[in-house]
């Protein structure tokens, strides 16, 4: 697929999630996402691993919402769910649980969608897409090409930087430095002997890179052609159309256009 289409769809997907208010719709989106994962042939466990990074955040938000949500119309609450616990300022009640559950669904889907984007798209393709989509800004004299270039260079330097960091950390460790002792201030101070050489070598590297680009006659965007021209294909149009339809459907539910709220009733029931 075209990276531009993927990027647009992902953005729409993120916005969309903020308008969803029903578990059924979350489930529906989750199923769609599963289909996407299946079609992309990315191993499921790899995708799920990305959740691990935000697991703490998830649990934390869940507990907070549950504990601090007091619910409205308590009697109704008790009548509806028949369960209510109160403990100091902490309250566990049905509506809190509901809200917490929704938040979790939203966050999970929020993480998984863009994960799929990064798993299936190379950073270079992504910057290309960004550059293309930001083209309108060129008319107000924003150097879009330069931004895209900066982004792709930064992305390509990250692995080298990581390697450099381990190297320097090892060197300082060999000189008796320790990075996992003492309080937070001590640890921050211990990082200085790593950060300074890292900065020095990064500046040197960027100097070298600039020289290399100059000596290959890089002059910015003017008259620069692309080796891989981006092209929308049928599948891109189809996917975008589907996304628009889904978005429309969700907005419809949310704002109750044309009295379509009756669908809600079916969905909730």
């Amino acid at each position: 697929m075209d990276p531009r289409a993927k990027l647009l769809i992902t953005i729409a997907y993120i916005v969309m999630l903020f308008f969803v208010d029903y578990f059924v719709v979350y489930a529906f989106i989750a199923v769609l996402l599963l289909v996407v994962i299946f079609l992309s042939k990315v191993p499921l466990h790899k995708v799920l691993r990305s959740i691990k990074a935000v697991l703490f955040l998830l649990i934390f938000t869940f507990i907070l919402t549950i504990v601090f949500n007091q619910g409205q119309g308590e009697e109704a609450e008790i009548a509806k769910f028949g369960w209510y616990a109160h403990w100091g300022i902490f309250t566990v009640c049905g509506s809190g649980l509901l809200l917490g559950g929704k938040l979790i669904c939203r966050l999970l889907l929020l993480v998984l969608g863009p994960t799929m984007l990064t798993f299936t798209t190379t950073p270079v393709a992504l910057t290309d897409a960004v550059e293309y989509l930001l083209t309108p800004l060129k008319w107000v004299k924003v150097p879009v090409h330069a931004f895209a270039m900066i982004m792709s260079i930064a992305l390509s330097l990250i692995p080298g930087l990581m390697e450099e960091t381990t190297k320097i950390m090892n060197a300082q460790k060999a000189r008796g430095a320790s990075f996992d002792h003492g309080n937070i201030f001590k640890r921050a101070a211990a990082l200085l002997p790593v950060l300074i050489p890292l900065f020095v070598s990064s500046f040197k590297r960027s100097d070298d890179l600039a020289d290399a680009m100059d000596s290959r006659c890089y002059r910015g965007a003017k008259g620069r052609t692309k080796m891989k021209v981006l092209k929308f294909r049928l599948i891109d149009y189809l996917a975008m159309l589907l996304t628009v339809a889904l978005f429309f459907f969700i907005l419809m539910l949310f704002y109750n256009w044309w009295g379509f709220a009756w669908i809600n009733i079916i969905l909730v029931a």
Binding site: E164, K167, I168, N170, A171, Q172, K173, A174, R175, G176, A177, S178, L192, P193, V194, I196, P197, V200, S201
Partner: protein, 290 residues
């Protein structure tokens, strides 16, 4: 014995498609007082091996891997679950490839003092060691100590970095290609410096690609190939085995190469001659006899 290694293996990225066996049942002994050389082509596992020696890389224990491995450095058993890392780092000094990239402090003096400071030494002792270390690497304390290490030349930076390691007074000094990227004169100076360091730090291990250096400095040389030790020889013996050297994709020292060529073209000399002087003497003797 300074270093005792037995059946040590190491696998990068085990279980993934990028699995690489960097060390394969390595067995190696380095005696106290050795100037020990390690040679081998790129990717043969030299750096991985030496990073085991100060516990930057820990002995891998997985299933059968390293079940009977022995790794003992300066009397410390590094196969233990929690070896005393602090005393390992104190006893084993490690100079990495391009050590100048580890410089960070405002002044040369502070940078060299970083190691001793981490050893929690007293102010006076630290100052003493900094002076001593800078003198050992041939830098003038008065001239460089208050300068920024980033203003020095490449060769000077490298000396400061080496000083930073020997200021910790290690029992065992390990250098990974200490002369890489220097001009011939810089190389010579670093080698001369190693000889003077040898007096304070008795055991040195040096990884090198340069056979001339190995021939000139080391009393024992281990040859690595594909994560294995292909053999440990005194340099003279090693460079007499021309086939072994070339089969491993390595080169002979220039002097030895020349001696071999001369011997092949009919001169009656021992081709394993190592020093320039040795060779000239042998050639001269030939002509004297005629």
């Amino acid at each position: 014995m300074a270093v005792e290694i037995k059946d040590l293996s190491y696998v990068y990225n085990p279980g993934s498609p990028f699995e690489t066996r960097a060390l394969d049942n390595v067995t190696l002994n380095v005696d106290d007082g050795d100037f020990f050389g390690i040679i081998g082509h790129t990717g043969s596992g030299k750096s991985t091996l030496i990073s085991h020696l100060n516990a930057l890389t820990r002995v891998q224990k997985k299933k059968k891997l390293n079940a009977s491995a022995v790794l003992r450095v300066c009397g410390i058993d590094l196969t233990a679950k929690k070896p005393d890392l602090k005393s390992v780092r104190e006893k084993v000094g490690m100079v990495f490839q391009y050590p100048e990239y580890q410089l960070f402090a405002d002044t040369v003096r502070q940078d060299v003092a970083f190691g001793p400071k981490n050893l929690k030494l007293g102010e006076e002792e630290i100052n003493k060691r900094v002076r001593e270390a800078l003198a050992l690497v041939g830098l003038d304390y008065a001239e460089v100590s208050e300068r920024s290490p980033f203003d020095l030349s490449g060769g000077q930076k490298r000396r400061v970095a080496i000083a930073g390691v020997i200021a910790m007074r290690p029992e065992l000094l390990i250098l990974d290609e200490p002369t890489a990227g220097l001009d011939p004169r810089g190389k010579k100076e670093i080698l001369a410096l190693l000889h003077s360091i040898k007096r304070t730090c008795p055991t040195i291990i040096m990884v090198s690609h340069n056979m001339d250096e190995v021939a000139a400095c080391c009393n024992k040389v281990a040859v690595m190939s594909g994560g294995k030790i292909a053999g440990v020889f005194p340099p003279k013996e090693l460079f007499a085995r021309r086939e072994l050297i070339s089969s491993l994709g390595l080169e002979l020292p220039t002097v030895t190469e020349l001696a071999f060529e001369l011997a092949e073209s009919g001169l009656d000399i021992d081709p394993s001659a190592l020093g320039e002087e040795e060779l000239t003497e042998a050639i001269a003797a030939q002509f004297r006899n005629k």
